[in-house]
């Protein structure tokens, strides 16, 4: 342990390490979405009975209704063959739509001969193995639909992004 015997009170003492700060000009902040812009969607879920000892699965159905300023068909499905090489196909739930999916995927049925054969429905009906899976599934769907609604809200407002001339700009007199 060192002793503190040197009196340097009468000296200027430089603190050896400077610190660096960074001042920045923030990007334009997007305006917060309106508290209630009228866009809404109602999610209702139904769950089959489950008994730990005697039941091997749980059926969950989530239905979207009463949509305003957005489609209620927010669940993306893909047509898949029921078995390899078979002609008969069935829709399989894949994900909650993004805003782009809402624009691109048709409602109710896929476009004929489209690959992949996406389409949208207003419900999702799945079989799950346990209550934990059910709770997780419902939570994920609710969060995804909330995120979709928030994203659509943000897309209502356009902010200045930039501009450039293609070709020479006009000469100002």
């Amino acid at each position: 342990m060192s002793c503190n015997t040197v009196n340097n009170d009468d000296q200027i003492i430089e603190i050896p390490d400077a610190i660096n700060l960074n001042f920045y000009t923030p990007q334009i902040e997007p305006p917060p979405p309106q508290p209630d812009n009228g866009r809404r969607l109602k999610l209702t879920w139904q769950v089959s009975r489950y008994n730990f000892h005697s039941v091997d699965g749980i059926r969950v159905r989530i239905t979207a209704t009463d949509a305003a300023l957005m489609s209620d068909k927010v669940f993306a499905y893909m047509m898949l063959p029921l078995k390899a090489g078979a002609d008969s196909k069935a829709g399989a739930f894949d994900h909650v739509c993004s805003p782009t999916d809402l624009e691109e995927y048709p409602e109710d049925d896929p476009i004929t001969n489209s690959r992949p054969a996406w389409f949208r429905l207003n419900y999702v009906d799945v079989l799950l193995r346990s209550r934990a899976e059910v709770e997780s599934f419902i939570r994920d769907v609710v969060e995804d639909v909330q995120r979709l609604k928030n994203t659509l809200d943000l897309m209502d407002d356009l902010l200045p992004g930039g501009n450039m001339w293609i070709g020479l700009p006009p000469v100002t007199p």
Partner: protein
């Protein structure tokens, strides 16, 4: 009586180092003075300087019982700035 050890004394970030350059938001610099035994040195004045003229520094008061004092830094100009510190000599009568 304890005397300031330059090696043990430091300038520290009191807030995150990225600050909006609007002349209002403040970066906080924490001064920590220690002696050779890592004990706090109270009652000393530290003077901070910036390497840019557009930076405003509200100089810290005397270090407290923990050897600490705070300074506040603002600027309306974007870009990095380096803050240095030195301990002012004790005035002799």
């Amino acid at each position: 009586m304890s005397y300031v050890s330059p090696e043990n004394s430091k300038l520290l970030y009191g807030t995150r180092p990225h600050i909006v350059a609007d002349g209002v938001q403040q970066g906080v610099v924490k001064i920590r003075l220690r002696d050779d035994n890592e004990q706090p040195v109270a009652g000393r004045q530290v003077e901070l300087t910036a390497d840019r003229e557009d930076v405003t520094i509200v100089q810290p008061g005397l270090t407290d019982a923990d050897g600490a004092a705070l300074a506040y830094v603002t600027s309306a100009v974007s870009g990095p700035v380096s803050i240095s510190g030195r301990v002012v000599p004790v005035a002799t009568p």
